[in-house]
Every structure is written in structure tokens, then in C-alpha cells.
């Protein structure tokens, strides 16, 4: 079995001729079954999306309309809560962006050569190497949080954005190496052979043969790193206070001790989630590929 990158509609041609030959009633049954399953899929999809939709709807409510029974579905939408969120999120979103982009770039810089050494010209014990990286993912970082705090304190890295970049890189690197390696395995060996016969050195081999093939894979790898780094709370909560506090911490700070806050919270949650949701939606295919084709190899 090869998890070949098979695009979705590959199954179509064999079905079409059969359908045209089908007698009336059977065709009708098939059609109604198609419609039926389609309806089921839509219901499931909407049900799954409902909490997100409700979050966005609540974000547009005035605070007084957010905590009512029965819940209000008609109200005059307001941007008041969004304005409030945007007035306070500046430092947090900056920290989140720096930590996310910084760690993702570092992951790629470290991960691409490592994957190369595990796939294209593999070291002898590439399997051990790969398993080492994967095994670090299995050690629960929460177990070391106290000592991590002490180390950060002594290294003067507590509450610094560098600390988050360093830790997020380590957090995402194993999965990234694993994925990039599998994308590199898809480089046809004939292409590498041809390049070598052409007298291409390692450098040209990487820039001219490998990179063009794996760059879509790198995009999906980067995407997954971005999602995990952007959404990370545990480390940020334990190791930062103000100078490096990220968006998830901004969210927590939007829950006050008293008073009405549900609309405000929903607006903050929407704003914090939207960047990754949008990127994820746009790059869906790449995401699927990264998680599966890449992962399975």
C-alpha cells in the first residue's frame, strides 16, 4: 500500500456510465439515498459548527442580550464588544504573532536538514533518529513545568518571548521532521540520479530538485506548527506574565470576577480564533495532506 496523493474525485469515471444505464426505479432509489446521506452530512456539519456560530453571534450582542432566558436570536447587533477587544489586545497579539512565526521559522530551519538526513541520504540509524524525535513528543511537558520555571528564572528568560519561541520550536519540531521526511520520500529517485549525473552537488540537489517537490509539503507542515503555537496556553500561562503574554492569556483576562461578560468573552474568543480558522479554511487541502499523507509515511 502506498498512501499516494490521490485527489478526491478519482472514483468518478467508473460510476458515471453505470448510472446512465440504470433503470428508472433503481436510479431513483440511488438518487434519494444520495440526497438522504447528503442531508445527514449537512445536519452533522451544522451541529458541529454550532458552538462556533453561537460564539460569533454572541460576540455581536449587547451585553444585556447575551445572558437571557430563552437565548435571544434576534437583537440589534453591535460592534461595541469588538471595539473593546481591539483596544486591549495589541501587546498580546504581537507576542502571539512573534512566538508563532518565530518558532515556525526555526522549526523549518532545523527540520528541513534533519528530514533530509533521515530521508534522502539517510544516516545508518535513521529509524532510531526518527523514533527519538517522536519519543520526545510523548514525554509530557507538564511533568517538568516546575523545574522549567526555575530554569527560565535562572536563565533570565522568564516572561520573555524568546522562551516561548524556544519551547514552541521544541514542541513542534518532532512532528515537523516526521512530516517533512515523508514529503522528501516522495521525491523520485530518478530525479536525484539525473541531478547527480549532471554533476549537481548537495546544495544544488536541495535547491533545484528537492525543494520544488516538497515545498507544498512545507506549507502544510508550517500550517500545523502555526496552529499549535498560536493556540498554546499551558506554557504561556506558567512562564509569562506581561512581557510575553499571548492571546490565550488575553482571553482568560477577559473573564472578570463579576458582572456581565459573556458578549465580551465571545468577542475576544472570536478575534483570537479567527486568524487560525481563516488560514485553516483557506489551506484545507494542504492541511489534510499534511496530517495524513505526510503523517502516514
Amino acid at each position: 500500500m502506498t498512501a499516494a496523493p490521490a485527489p478526491a474525485p478519482a472514483a468518478v469515471p467508473s460510476v458515471v456510465p453505470a448510472r446512465t444505464r440504470m433503470p428508472g426505479p433503481q436510479r431513483l432509489r440511488q438518487m434519494s439515498s444520495t440526497v438522504g446521506w447528503g442531508v445527514v452530512a449537512w445536519v452533522v456539519g451544522i451541529a458541529f459548527f454550532l458552538p462556533v456560530l453561537w460564539m460569533v453571534i454572541t460576540a455581536f450582542k449587547p451585553e444585556s442580550a447575551a445572558e437571557t432566558w430563552p437565548p435571544k436570536f434576534t437583537f440589534s447587533p453591535t460592534l461595541a464588544e469588538f471595539r473593546l477587544v481591539f483596544s486591549g489586545w495589541g501587546p498580546y497579539v504581537t507576542h502571539s504573532a512573534i512566538a508563532t512565526i518565530g518558532s515556525t521559522v526555526l522549526v523549518l530551519v532545523l527540520g528541513v536538514p534533519a528530514a533530509y538526513a533521515l530521508a534522502v541520504h539517510p544516516i545508518k540509524r535513521w529509524r532510531d533518529g526518527l523514533f527519538f524525535f517522536i519519543s520526545t513528543k510523548m514525554l509530557p511537558i507538564v511533568a517538568a513545568i516546575g523545574p522549567l520555571y526555575v530554569i527560565a528564572l535562572k536563565a533570565h528568560l522568564l516572561d520573555s518571548i524568546w522562551l516561548l519561541i524556544i519551547l514552541y520550536t521544541a514542541m513542534n519540531l518532532p512532528l515537523a521532521i516526521w512530516m517533512i521526511r515523508s514529503f522528501m520520500l516522495e521525491v523520485p529517485s530518478e530525479m536525484l540520479e539525473a541531478a547527480r549525473l549532471d554533476g549537481a552537488g548537495r546544495f544544488r540537489e536541495i535547491t533545484e530538485v528537492i525543494m520544488p517537490v516538497v515545498s507544498p509539503g512545507l506549507v502544510s507542515t508550517a500550517l500545523i506548527c502555526v496552529i499549535f503555537a498560536w493556540n498554546e496556553l499551558f506554557l504561556a500561562l506558567n512562564l509569562t506574565v506581561t512581557n510575553a503574554a499571548t492571546l490565550p492569556m488575553f482571553l482568560i483576562s477577559s473573564v472578570p470576577q463579576e458582572g456581565l461578560y459573556i458578549a465580551h468573552l465571545s468577542a475576544a474568543a472570536t478575534v483570537a480564533s479567527v486568524p487560525v480558522i481563516l488560514v485553516g479554511w483557506i489551506a484545507q487541502r494542504s492541511l489534510v495532506r499534511g496530517l495524513s499523507m505526510g503523517a502516514i509515511k
Binding site: W54, A66, E67, L110, A143, P248
Partner: protein, 313 residues
């Protein structure tokens, strides 16, 4: 850390072994790996070594004078501590139930999405969204607008079924947290299984159809075996992330009521942040790591199987 050696030949894409340069060649091969390897060892292993060190120390943040050696007393405390055992047990329940349910739903959703229907890509987009939303945001939105006993949407939607103002987070805390975990990870499972379905060779399915095999039999005999490595992979990756779930616990229930939803990550967090007990948390952490290694050894075997699968192709 246990590493499984299966002894198969590496899938070298281009085998180059210049004569006489064996050693130099080996180092040339290793060189690109070293930065990532050293980085990972330094950043991920040193904190655990320090954890090991502190696990033998009496060290409280709020007690002046710093750490001093106490031998095994931290460990004695961990093993006699019912709170730790409870947290461990709840971690297992939460992870196992969330992973299994998310995977079952993931397979079902993937089967739905593998069919052709109007608006398929829109439905896929809707279904993957919970995976993309920030877990902290998900936890807070579920805790407030969705599950609140007085104005939550869920109680409203369940009203026709005789549900009236249930305080989910007080009466069904563990279940509620697990539901949110499932909600966030089902899309991930769906995507992995869907990719598996779409990579399935269609000729075998056609042949089964011609042979008059029923849909269920085809699924059991053909599709499920094909999906197996994908399902294993989803379970593995899902477990790795779900065993560390913290956001939902901290933000939905704060570990409560009582300790009803305190899992290991939250327990360790509290040890450090509320009890300031670095030594105790370190010992609990070491025990956690040892347990994880035992589980991970089995998990890595599974990885090895996935790899063999790949090479058999």
C-alpha cells in the same frame, strides 16, 4: 527511551557510497541532522534531568533558603497520595474515552464526507473548524454561552427533551470536559481517516460491488483493513495531545467541582502554582514520565508497524 529496531533496510532514495570515504560520508550524512538533534536534546531532555534532580529535593517557592536534599520522601508522598492516583485515573479515563469516541465519530464523518453530495466542501469546512479554534476559546465558549445553566444554548436546545436548566459543569463536569475534548479532536480524526478513504484503490471496491457484496461486508472486509494504519495513527497522535489536555480543565471547571476533573496536567500545575511545591511536583512528574514511557513503548511498537506497512508497499 525505548526505541524499536526492526532491522529493515533504510529506504535510501539515492545510495551513494564513494569508495574509501565511508567515514567522511557517514559524517556528511549526519551533519544536517545534528542541529535539530542537539536542539531537541537540550531543550526537551535537560528539563527532565532537572526534574529528576528536584524530585529528591525539598523545594518550595514560598519558603526562603532554597532547595535541600530529602531523599525519597517526595516519592513516598506521591505514592501514598490519593490525589495523585485520582488525577492519574482521571487522565486515563479522559484520554481513552475521548480518543475512542472521537475516532468512531471520525470514521463515520469521513464515510459521510467520502460520498458525493451538494456542498460537500462546505460541510467539510464546517466539520474541521473545531480543530482550528483556539482550545482556550473553545473551553470558555463551552463553559459560558453553551453550557451555562441559566442562559446556555444547550439547555435551550434540549428543552423539548425534558432538560431544564441543568448545571452541566457542576453535575456532569467530567462528561462535559470530555465532550469538549471529543468536539475538538473529532475533526482531526475525520481528516486522517478521510485521507485514508480517498487513497483507497477503487478497483477492489468495484470488484466487490460486481460480486454482489453488501456495503457493510465491503466496509468490514476491504475498507477497514485499508484504514487500519490511518486509524492507528489518529489514535496515537490524538492520545499524545489529549493526555496533556489542560486548557479545557483549567478554564471550564478549574479541576472541580472538588477534584472531579483534575487530571495529571492540572494536578501538576496546581502543585507548582498553588502549593509552590516544586519538589513534590517534580516527583509526581517523574512518576508520570515513567508511566508515559511504559505506555509509549507500546505506542512506538505501533509506530514501527505503521512503518513496516509503508515499506511493504
Amino acid at each position: 527511551m525505548a526505541v524499536v529496531e526492526t532491522g529493515a533496510a533504510p529506504p535510501s532514495v539515492a545510495e551513494v557510497r564513494p569508495r574509501g570515504g565511508g567515514r567522511r560520508d557517514a559524517w556528511q550524512r549526519r551533519l544536517p541532522l545534528l542541529p535539530a538533534l542537539i536542539y531537541t536534546i537540550v531543550v526537551t531532555q535537560i528539563p527532565f534531568l532537572v526534574t529528576l534532580w528536584y524530585s529528591f529535593q525539598n523545594y518550595f517557592f514560598d519558603v526562603p533558603g532554597g532547595a535541600h536534599w530529602t531523599g525519597l520522601s517526595n516519592y513516598k508522598q506521591v505514592f501514598t497520595n490519593a490525589a495523585f492516583r485520582g488525577a492519574l485515573w482521571r487522565s486515563v479515563i479522559m484520554t481513552v474515552s475521548a480518543v475512542i469516541v472521537a475516532m468512531i465519530l471520525g470514521v463515520l464523518f469521513a464515510l459521510l464526507l467520502d460520498r458525493k453530495f451538494i456542498g460537500r466542501s462546505v460541510v467539510r469546512t464546517l466539520i474541521i473548524t473545531p480543530f482550528l479554534i483556539m482550545p482556550a476559546a473553545a473551553a470558555l465558549v463551552w463553559a459560558g454561552p453553551m453550557l451555562d445553566p441559566n442562559f446556555g444554548l444547550l439547555n435551550y436546545l434540549l428543552q423539548p427533551f425534558g432538560v431544564h436548566h441543568v448545571a452541566w459543569l457542576s453535575t456532569h463536569a467530567l462528561g462535559s470536559v470530555i465532550v469538549v475534548m471529543i468536539w475538538q479532536w473529532t475533526p482531526f480524526m475525520t481528516l486522517i481517516v478521510l485521507a485514508g478513504l480517498q487513497g483507497q484503490p477503487t478497483d477492489a471496491l468495484e470488484a466487490a460491488k460486481v460480486d454482489g457484496a453488501g456495503a457493510l461486508a465491503t466496509f468490514r472486509e476491504l475498507t477497514l483493513p485499508h484504514l487500519r494504519p490511518y486509524i492507528e495513527l489518529g489514535i496515537l497522535l490524538g492520545s499524545i495531545y489529549l493526555v496533556n489536555v489542560f486548557d479545557a480543565v483549567r478554564l471550564m471547571t478549574n479541576g472541580g467541582p472538588g477534584t472531579a476533573t483534575t487530571n495529571l496536567p492540572f494536578y501538576l500545575y496546581e502543585q507548582v502554582n498553588n502549593a509552590f511545591d516544586v519538589g513534590g511536583a517534580a516527583a509526581a512528574g517523574v512518576v508520570t514520565v515513567i508511566l508515559t514511557i511504559i505506555v509509549a513503548t507500546f505506542a512506538l511498537r505501533m509506530f514501527a508497524r505503521v512503518f513496516q506497512f509503508e515499506e511493504a508497499a
